[in-house]
């Protein structure tokens, strides 16, 4: 174990103000240096990624008058994976008069994150949540409304109030289209230059500062260098390390991993969210998993048969022979327990042999009672598009027979370490949205990803990046700057290497094998023995990849195999770090469940005396032991205790 990593100096967030928590964000906005409007046009910012966190930041910084250059790997910024978020976005508006407040959203999020997030960050997120809804409505986001014309809300897991705003089952799409339109408006205004079908392959660091990126034009293969006074990574999460996840096929860790290799600390990589309600796997050819929104748990009831091996048609199983196991074990939250708890409970009943469907890897999500109570039209109005999607994928009609669902990798709470300003430990490198680690601790609550992405992009970053940029413009750098030259050459060499191996195995076959190792040993339940095994197998597979992968075609064309090969190569390195992080954290918390650390009734058991810290990892070389830097977490406002949803 000791040889797997070494421990370095502790770190701390030097930007977070002290004093009463409700005043900290005001305090920071006041202390942050400003850039006057005339000087902004002399300053440039690169933004990688155009999801909620990237598009909102690009639009807002463009509106402020900075010179923004934006990149996405898709053919249009509108396609970033935020678009697939279904259920909703939280905000402490208290429009329901049900006891909600900024403080309650803060409290729920800290507790939901199992006391592994920063209080200051989460409080700010809750404060800003209110402004996000206003902003989105002003942009024309068509949120669901009631007959009086006011906004509707629903509930999500882990909370007892209704604070989730939604646009049918397509909230992410509508929010992203709002941000995308604001971005396109700035592109037309000339403040943002957009490069679609460009993938970031390296970070340029000059004199210790982030000064640019190396990107590959995915149509021509040209390797380009772009420079700026600051770089923002809004490149999303790394759930695709598992191959099968609810992420889009192109989601990858490359942007953040390349920054990590250049010195940016990677925090809490083992914190992975496994979403409880996804459509189960149907075969080996499966390329991705589809989420069924958590909002379904508002009205659907989750159950399995009481008896092992009861393979009757679910409609024939009488009420008394069903086990509504979440309602039984967690009477006060019932089907709306947080995601980590719902997922593990599903795994447990399947491990007992009571799972349903092919391979016994599924549980029922049943709407029969909801249809009886509300009538089918009301259920259709609320969930119609999700039911249609389910039927299209499985060929079964969920109005008539219960849905089958199973947990799947959905979100990664870990990411690059950032301070209160969202700046990484590399000056000038900022990280927003899912790509950073900051707000969700060890488990994210439903409808909080959209909230964080937009909080970071619309309101936080545009009020903190000025503090850094006020010292600019920085010394001019270009293609001939040695660090930039070196970065571009490294990228070209890596591409050449991948194309020249000409082995016998496809990129996807390696990716699938890596994914199955991760799912087995670093998925819903982790053990010391399993993690050691995983690390060993990942290293072996990585070596084999670099000896035997087959990448067809050339660089100077649209080459999707080459794109995937580069991403998978980075996933190998990340996977090893995830396992090391999971191994070192000998406690269970949120989405990180170590079998060795559980309560008598099988709940996650934290060890606050030893592990109440952020684990920020420093890269030292491929296959070399990383260095662990701890940032201690202190709780002044929310008392750390065992989470209870009973």
């Amino acid at each position: 174990m000791t040889e797997l990593y070494t421990e370095g100096a502790p770190i701390q967030d030097e930007k977070a103000p002290d004093g009463p928590i409700a005043e900290r964000w005001d305090k920071r906005r006041f202390s942050a240096k400003l850039v006057n409007p005339a000087n902004r046009r002399k300053l440039s910012v690169i933004i990688v990624g155009t999801g909620l966190a990237g598009a909102s930041a690009a639009a807002t910084l463009g509106e402020a008058g900075y010179n923004v250059t934006s990149f996405c790997y898709q053919d249009s910024p509108r396609r970033a994976h935020s678009i697939a978020a279904q259920g909703g976005i939280n905000a402490a508006k208290n429009y329901r008069n049900d006891g909600d407040s900024i403080y309650r959203l803060f409290y729920d999020t800290v507790k939901g994150g199992d006391f592994r997030s920063r209080e200051s960050n989460v409080y700010r997120l809750s404060q800003v949540s209110v402004e996000i809804i206003d902003q989105c409505v002003a942009q024309g986001v068509p949120f669901a409304r009631e007959y009086g014309g006011l906004l509707d809300n629903r509930s999500f897991g882990g909370v007892q109030v209704s604070r989730t705003f939604y646009a049918r089952g397509q909230t992410g799409q509508q929010l992203l289209i709002g941000a995308y339109q604001a971005l396109e408006r700035q592109i037309a205004a000339g403040t943002v230059t957009m490069h679609t079908r460009h993938e970031m392959l390296e970070l340029i660091v000059v004199d210790g500062k982030a000064r640019g990126v190396i990107v590959r034009d995915m149509v021509t293969g040209e390797v380009e260098s772009h420079f700026a006074d600051a770089v923002v990574l809004a490149s999303g999460g790394y759930g695709n390390v598992f191959f099968l996840s609810t992420n889009a096929m192109g989601c990858n860790v490359t942007a953040t991993w390349r920054a990590h290799r250049k010195g940016a600390l990677f925090a809490n990589p083992c914190y992975t969210q496994i979403h409880p309600t996804c459509i189960p796997v149907s075969g080996d050819y499966q390329s991705k998993l589809t989420l069924m929104s958590e909002s379904l748990r508002n009205d659907g009831r989750i159950w399995v048969p009481k008896e092992i091996g009861d393979d009757r048609d679910p409609r024939q199983i009488p009420e008394e022979e069903r086990d509504y196991y979440l309602e039984r074990a967690y009477p006060s939250f019932g089907n709306l327990v947080p995601r980590d708890i719902a997922s593990r409970a599903a795994k447990n009943v399947c491990d007992e042999g009571r799972g349903v469907g092919p391979g016994g890897l599924g549980v029922y999500l049943d709407f029969a009672d909801a249809i009886k109570r509300m009538g089918r039209p009301a259920v259709e109005a609320k969930y119609g598009n999700l039911f249609d999607m389910y039927q299209r994928i499985t060929g079964e009609n969920p109005y008539e027979t219960p849905m089958r669902i199973y947990p799947a990798v959905h979100y990664t709470m870990g990411g690059l370490w950032v301070d209160y300003d969202l700046q990484s430990n590399i000056p000038g490198l900022f990280v927003t949205g899912e790509a950073n680690f900051s707000d969700h601790g060890a488990n994210r609550l439903g409808a909080s990803a959209l909230m964080q992405g937009l909080a970071d992009g619309y309101f936080v970053l545009p009020n903190t990046i000025n503090d850094y940029l006020s010292a600019g413009p920085f010394e001019k750098v270009d293609e001939d700057t040695p660090e930039a030259k070196e970065a571009a050459e490294a990228v070209r060499a890596r591409i050449d290497k991948l194309l020249s191996i000409n082995g016998s195995r496809t990129v996807d076959s390696f990716h699938k094998e890596l994914g199955s190792i991760m799912w087995e040993y670093c998925g819903m339940e982790r053990t010391e023995e399993g993690l050691y095994k995983a690390i060993d197998r990942i290293r072996g597979l990585r070596d084999e990849f670099w000896r035997d992968v087959k990448v067809t075609g050339v660089n100077e064309e649209l080459n999707q195999t080459l794109e995937r090969a580069g991403r998978v190569a980075d996933f190998f390195e990340l996977a090893e770090l995830m396992c090391i992080d999971a191994l070192h954290r000998r406690e269970s918390c949120g989405g990180h469940f170590r079998a060795e650390s559980q309560t008598e009734d099988g709940e996650a058991l934290r060890h606050d005396d030893e592990f109440a810290y952020v684990a920020a990892w420093e890269f030292t070389g491929t296959g070399e032991s990383p260095v662990l830097h701890k940032e201690n977490l202190e709780y002044e406002y929310v008392e750390m205790k065992q989470r209870s949803y009973k």
Partner: protein, 248 residues
């Protein structure tokens, strides 16, 4: 089941393309259409051949990246995105033709991948509400009648896939443009720019070499999100009103 695919292969934008036949064996009916292409691509790669390039990303029918013409129909026989089409819609022994979107405004980049940047430029021309960050009043300041909000939402569900263009005999992008005009035009927040928006967007649409709309309706027939054809009537109404009033 076993399938014969005839796929459009084109090396680059300036190269000539042609249909090439492939046999795909042991296709499961639970596979999505794109997973069937994945299986074929794995086989081609192992054989050292160039796999078929196609755009795709979320594979859950919402990002709008995927889209090919299958047996002459944009997105194929079901009214959905290509990624949500499953092989249970075909039968053993079928021959399936697979082609890219064909439109002057969507030049082919490679195989089944086309450049849809023209759609982004239509949005740039005016498909937004100017509401810079921080300027918004409280979300409840202006109630929106539910029927208007719902109509705006129905139009706003457009995923920008381009199937409407591919299906149109004129290769018109009018359904795409009309969806945005209707989405923003139904909301009180969209009113100040409504008259100018429609004119600017239609001008850009024409500049991008999309064809004119002759109300054939093929677009709405293939739209995976069911954008209604009457959005085009709404666009025409707004356009006439705008031109007549001279407010643009």
């Amino acid at each position: 089941m076993n399938i014969t695919l005839r796929v459009w292969r084109q090396k680059g934008k300036d190269d000539e393309g042609r249909m090439v036949s492939y046999q795909v064996e042991d296709v499961s009916q639970d596979m999505s259409f794109l997973e069937m292409l994945d299986v074929l691509n794995e086989k081609l790669t192992v054989a050292g051949e160039d796999p078929i390039a196609f755009d795709h990303d979320c594979r859950e029918g919402i990002c709008g990246a995927c889209g090919v013409v299958i047996n002459g129909i944009a997105h194929g026989p079901e009214v959905t995105t290509t990624c949500q089409l499953h092989m249970r819609s075909f039968k053993d022994g079928d021959t399936i033709d697979v082609e890219p979107w064909r439109a002057k405004a969507f030049p082919v980049i490679k195989d089944l991948v086309v450049d849809r940047g023209s759609l982004d430029r239509i949005i740039q021309a005016g498909g937004y509400i100017s509401a810079p960050t921080g300027t918004a009043p409280d979300a409840h300041a202006v109630p929106v009648p539910k029927t208007d909000a719902d109509r705006a939402f129905d139009a706003a569900t457009c995923i920008g896939c381009g199937a409407c263009v591919a299906a149109c005999p004129n290769a018109s992008g009018m359904l795409f443009t009309a969806a945005k005009v209707t989405h923003l035009g139904m909301l009180p927040q969209g009113q100040p720019e409504r008259a100018a928006r429609v004119v600017k967007m239609v001008n850009q649409h024409d500049e991008e070499d999309f064809g004119g709309c002759t109300n054939i309706g093929e677009c709405a027939a293939v739209c995976p999100k069911g954008i209604p054809l009457d959005t085009i009537s709404q666009l025409n109404k707004d356009l006439l009103g705008s031109l007549a009033s001279g407010k643009m």
